[in-house]
């Protein structure tokens, strides 16, 4: 989906030291519940045999996909891709907490906040971005691993970093007719480790039936009631509004 801006992240894997300043910054900035996190540092764990060892840390959060499966499955219309920024957001007033989007996200980048009964996720700190600041995780990144900016703008820090990068990888999920086309670009490191790969979206029977049967039924219901109301209104118009006059 083409948006005015295409905000995304460039992650320099070679620079992440897994200090988790980003995790704390995100939690404080966004009031994230103590048992939840919106962002992660994935860790391949220590690989190899002593003393030939490697370990890779991969900062990770919502990919703000061009084609987000979460938006696709949202039944209430709460999850959407913002037309101006390209960020994938949740209108928590509209969210009914069904959790379908959590199951559908190949990156496990969303969680159901049970206390509040709504889904929560990385917003790219839109509240900061709209006033010209960087997301909290990016501002504080001690290793300068996290970069953020408009990928549509060829002169943005992220575009320049991509241009200069030796190797660029993405965690695109391209299967079963889905192509997420994610907006996180990983540079200067490997992301081939199985622990970092996207998973298949989970669509439950209820979800499928909701999408294929219930939603049309509900829509039809809404449609019918609208027709009914319209008819009633038309009838009223024709009959006049005597009962409202005093």
């Amino acid at each position: 989906m083409a948006t005015k801006k295409r905000y995304g992240f460039v992650i320099d894997i070679s620079r992440c030291i897994d200090c988790r300043a980003c995790l704390v910054a995100c939690s404080a900035e966004n009031n994230v519940g103590m048992q939840y996190t919106r962002i992660w540092v994935k860790d391949t764990g220590v690989k190899g045999e002593f003393p030939k060892l490697t370990r890779t840390f991969v900062p990770y959060n919502c990919m703000h996909c061009e084609n987000p499966p979460c938006v696709e499955v949202c039944v209430s219309g709460a999850t959407y891709k913002d037309k101006d920024t390209g960020l994938v957001l949740v209108d928590q007033e509209a969210c009914i907490g069904c959790g379908y989007c959590v199951e559908a996200c190949p990156y496990d980048a969303r969680y159901l906040d049970r206390a509040r009964g709504v889904v929560d996720k990385c917003t790219g700190c839109i509240q900061r971005v709209l006033v010209g600041q960087q997301p909290a995780c990016v501002t504080t990144c001690v290793g300068k691993a996290r970069l953020f900016g408009d990928l549509n703008d060829p002169n943005s820090e992220v575009s320049v970093a991509l241009k200069n990068a030796k190797a660029v990888q993405r965690l695109d999920y391209e299967k079963n007719g889905v192509d997420t086309d994610p907006n996180i670009y990983f540079i200067n490191g490997e992301i081939d480790d199985p622990s970092i790969q996207p998973r298949d979206p989970r669509y439950t029977f209820a979800q499928e039936s909701w999408k294929t049967l219930l939603v049309p039924a509900v829509l039809a219901g809404i449609g019918l009631s609208f027709v009914g109301q319209a008819t009633f209104f038309a009838k009223q118009l024709m009959e006049g509004e005597k009962e409202f006059e005093e």
């Binding site: 030291i17 704390v24 939690s27 404080a28 900035e29 002593f50 003393p51 060892l53 504080t140 290793g143």
Partner: protein, 731 residues
């Protein structure tokens, strides 16, 4: 991530309730809010950013605190402070949760139960301070002022703490330096005449870190500078028995045998001086002992070092040549916590020597700057005060009568504890502790608790019920660093202020206020000639003609430029010879080796392991484990063991084991990982709290202090924290 003991919602309710009492009908209480409004830092609603200084570790980054309606909601690194450059680490980011910790002590407490039972009653400041003063006076009258021990480390308010102890007349000053960097500081003082040389990463091409785990023992701007250098292509060689996160970022990780760092470094010096590949001109001009150095290092061949370190001779030779080839662009990092073995002083002397012989110690090209990063050169003022009373009593920690080369301001903390316990050379009776946690920090916790039992009176100043506060008779609640002023801090030529961004919660008060109140009750008012915190800072600024209001606005002021800006052309070091003393007459006179030298460290018996300690990026020592944000992002503190060693003992990952050292035992879960040598185990320090007043931290992990045996380096006074050997069995 581990369990969370309290939901954020509940936390907010509790914090709100606490704050509500203070704020009652007024979102931002007057003093702080009014000042912040006056400076346009916050708007009419009480929203805005207020600059101040972090205190989640001693690096002290600049902070911009976001305040919304009188609450701190977010901390940002101050781009204008050289230590943060706009960034904060996890601990810095979490600082608001230390301030809003539901376990904060917000009123003076007086013990009512037995010591360690945790039963306290709330008291007024007057009652608590009177009680402290009464006990301190009694001890002074009965046993002399030396019977009162004072300890605190590296706070900005330290200068007034020192007034309290020196005015009172006690020689017994306990810092925690001997558990940390005595070896580094003493070695660099003797070699360069400075405590801690600054590091310059701007042009560095070759970095040698000897156990300096900079990506986990984080000093924000320095860690960023290291990552910048590595990204630029600098070679990073890292010596550590553990594959830490720094090892994961290194070009070359060398899993050296614990205690053998000095052998590796001495062999590097051997190679450089025998092959004459150092900076000979520099050495001749500035280094004492250069002509005899090859002879003094003759025995330390790479082949010899291989037998000590387990590192192939060819590797050592290659690294020495690479290091020398990088010349002024090479850096052997001085290290920080260097309390590993009783030979750690020699390791540090060898590091000092390595830097000297490649001539990298000069600005602007050199990577090691022979000036302390804390040397300010800014002549701040100070309230007037009389001279201190003369102290004739010996120090309990053996400085200088037993440890002649340990600087008085560092001291030997573990020795002081032992003197309290043994009553030799005299019996101490009271201990005044300001935001320090000897119960968890000192080696051999059982011994520390036993020592506390010898004392008539213990008072602790802290923000929470630390393990030490838990065993105290009186606890005085200090305002958190976001709630108070402290004396000024000079960094990079600028004068920075720590100022309150919110009003203190409850009855918490600044250290400046607490020490003054106590001083006045002890008849020491002349050492505390300031009306309040702002007056103290005004007196500091007075000689420079600078204004507090201006300082509060930006969080810093720049002092007027100095008159003579002449560049030094011929460097004189602050040593007896004025040169870098690779050969030290001072050491020779004290009966120690004048050269950096090898001292054979002990090795574990068959079946025993080296117990290693070290930092994680999410905590500072033993003081942050109760912070809920850090608790949320920490790893479970398990005991690391190599798979080969675990297999040999029939142990598996997550098995609960009983670990036994000569002085204690703990139960802890195992983490089987190849990231450690098979002859070592590792435990993250700062866990295993005793205080039930720490509801988040209590019950998590085990304390390495229970296991640590007390070993002291006779030269630097440093505690040898990696010299304890342990065995384990399933349990």
């Amino acid at each position: 991530m581990t369990k969370s003991t309290i939901s954020r919602r509940n936390f907010l309710k509790m914090a709100g309730a606490t704050l509500g009492v203070v704020a009652a009908g007024q979102m931002l209480p007057p003093a702080v809010a009014e000042a912040a409004r006056r400076h346009n830092l916050i708007d009419a609603d009480g929203d805005g950013y207020i600059p101040t200084l972090c205190e989640m570790c001693v690096w002290r980054c600049g902070v911009r605190a976001k305040v919304v309606k009188g609450r701190v909601v977010k901390l940002e690194g101050n781009p204008e402070h050289p230590h943060s450059l706009g960034r904060l680490c996890a601990r810095g980011q979490s600082g608001l949760m230390t301030t809003y910790d539901p376990d904060r002590v917000l009123h003076p407490l007086i013990r009512v139960g037995k010591r360690g039972e945790g039963k306290f009653r709330q008291a007024s400041w007057d009652e608590a301070l009177d009680l402290v003063a009464k006990n301190m006076r009694e001890i002074q009258e009965k046993y002399g002022p030396q019977a009162m021990v004072f300890s605190s480390t590296h706070n900005l308010s330290q200068v007034q703490f020192e007034n309290l102890l020196n005015g009172y007349g006690s020689p017994n000053y306990g810092t925690q330096r001997s558990l940390c960097f005595n070896a580094m500081v003493t070695a660099f003082l003797l070699t360069y005449g400075i405590e801690e040389p600054a590091r310059n990463y701007d042009n560095v091409k070759y970095i040698l870190l000897v156990g300096r785990n900079l990506t986990e023992a984080i000093s924000t701007s320095e860690t960023t500078a290291l990552m910048d250098a590595v990204a630029r292509g600098a070679k990073l060689v890292y010596l550590d028995p553990r594959f830490t996160k720094t090892a994961a970022k290194a070009t070359e990780w060398i899993p050296i045998r614990p205690g053998a760092d000095a052998a590796f470094l001495l062999a590097m010096i051997h190679v450089i001086v025998t092959e004459r590949i150092g900076d000979c001109d520099f050495v001749k001009q500035y280094v004492v002992g250069c002509t005899d150095l090859p002879t003094a290092m003759a025995e330390y061949t790479p082949e010899w070092a291989e037998t000590k370190t387990g590192v192939p001779a060819d590797t050592i030779r290659r690294i020495a040549r690479e290091f020398a080839a990088a010349r002024h662009f090479a850096l052997a990092h001085p290290g920080w916590r260097t309390s590993n073995f009783v030979n750690s002083f020699q390791t540090e002397r060898a590091i000092a020597t390595l830097n000297a012989i490649i001539g990298n110690v000069f600005e602007p090209n050199g990577c090691l700057i022979a000036a302390s990063p804390e040397a300010s050169g800014v002549p701040l003022g100070k309230p007037p005060q009389p001279p201190y009373p003369r102290v004739t009593a010996q120090r309990l920690d053996g400085v200088p009568w037993k440890y002649p080369l340990v600087p008085l301001k560092l001291g030997v903390f573990q020795e002081m504890r032992d003197a309290i316990l043994t009553g030799q050379p005299y019996q101490a009776h009271g201990w005044f502790i300001a935001r320090q946690n000897p119960v968890l920090s000192l080696p051999d916790r059982n011994r520390t608790l036993e020592a506390l039992g010898k004392l008539d009176f213990i008072v602790t100043v802290d923000v929470v019920l630390s393990d030490t506060a838990w065993f105290s008779d009186v606890v005085l609640p200090e305002a958190s660093y976001l709630e108070r002023y402290d004396p000024l801090a000079v960094v990079g030529g600028k004068i920075f202020v720590r100022q309150p961004v919110i009003e203190p919660q409850g009855e918490a008060r600044s250290a400046l206020w607490i020490y003054k109140q106590l001083g006045e009750r002890l008849g020491l008012g002349d050492y505390f000639q300031y009306a309040d915190e702002e007056d103290y800072i005004r007196q500091q600024l007075a000689p420079l003609g600078l204004d507090l209001e201006q300082l509060k606005q930006k969080g810093y002021v720049e002092p007027p430029p100095k008159e003579n800006g002449s560049e030094k052309t011929d460097y004189v070091f602050n040593t007896p010879s004025g040169k870098i003393e690779v050969y030290s007459e001072t050491l020779a006179k004290a009966g120690f080796s004048p050269w950096p030298a090898w001292e054979e460290p002990p090795v574990p018996a068959p079946g025993a392991f080296y117990l290693l300690t070290g930092k994680v990026g999410q905590h500072t020592q033993m003081g942050t484990q109760n912070n809920q944000y850090l608790h949320k992002v920490q790893d479970e503190p398990r005991l690391w063991i190599n798979p080969e060693a675990a297999k040999g003992l029939g142990l598996n990952d997550r098995d609960l084991v009983e670990v036994t050292s000569p002085v204690g035992n703990v139960r802890v879960a195992l983490q089987v990982t190849p990231a450690i040598r098979p002859d070592c185990v590792y435990l993250t320090p700062g866990f295993g709290h005793l205080s039930k007043g720490l509801t988040t931290a209590y019950g998590v992990g085990a304390s390495d202090s229970v296991l640590h045996v007390t070993y002291t380096d006779p030269i630097s006074g440093g505690q040898a924290l990696s010299q304890t050997f342990v065995t384990m069995k399933k349990g």
